[in-house]
Amino acid sequence: EPEVTQTPSHQVTQMGQEVILRCVPISNHLYFYWYRQILGQKVEFLVSFYNNEISEKSEIFDDQFSVERPDGSNFTLKIRSTKLEDSAMYFCASSSIMNTEAFFGQGTRLTVV
């Protein structure tokens, strides 16, 4: 069964450092997303990406965040200068039709110290 894969599963970084979270969406999917979930809180939308550009972003997705699809398979989320409050589980998701049956990866747990 096709799946969304994310690496690394856990990343620890110092405050102020840049991090890149990586995702390989399902191969025939066209829409890609990043969500985050702070421990004990709800899943929150960050950004959606289609046709090599951001199609929508939330208020959380400020200038510290960027996304890229550097090649035909990878989809990345970069946080330029991490803050303590960026500590969360980050989920990548993809879908073949906009938000119908979005499939999520297993997440990257980001810990900022």
Partner: protein, 111 residues
């Protein structure tokens, strides 16, 4: 602003004891309502999409229903492996791709 409220926050059932989870939503126009299952430390696993009031979908012991203001996830004769957090989410029909999640119902099924 779209809002999703799920109840109860937690539910403990004996194996075989059927029950329902509630998802109340406020959205200016509904494109779709989604149910996901989330196991601890894992990503949400897609269960159902419902598009219009009156629609129902079933999968094994789960059945999801939709009205204009809420959705129910009915669990019939649950087993311990059904223990998880069940998430409800909505997407607005206003051309936006953002999906708004509720905080979930944590279900524990005791053997």
């Amino acid at each position: 602003e779209d809002q999703v409220t799920q109840s109860p926050e937690a539910l403990r059932l004996q194996e075989g004891e059927s029950s329902s989870l509630n998802c109340s939503y406020t959205v200016s126009g509904l494109r779709g309502l989604f149910w996901y299952r989330q196991d601890p430390g894992k990503g949400p696993e897609f269960l159902f999409t419902l598009y219009s009031a009156g629609e129902e979908k079933e999968k094994e012991r789960l059945k999801a229903t939709l009205t204009k203001k809420e959705s129910f996830l009915h669990i019939t004769a649950p087993k311990p492996e059904d223990s998880a957090t069940y998430l409800c989410a909505v997407q607005n029909s206003g051309g936006y791709q953002k999906v708004t999640f509720g905080t979930g119902t944590k279900l524990q099924v005791i053997p």
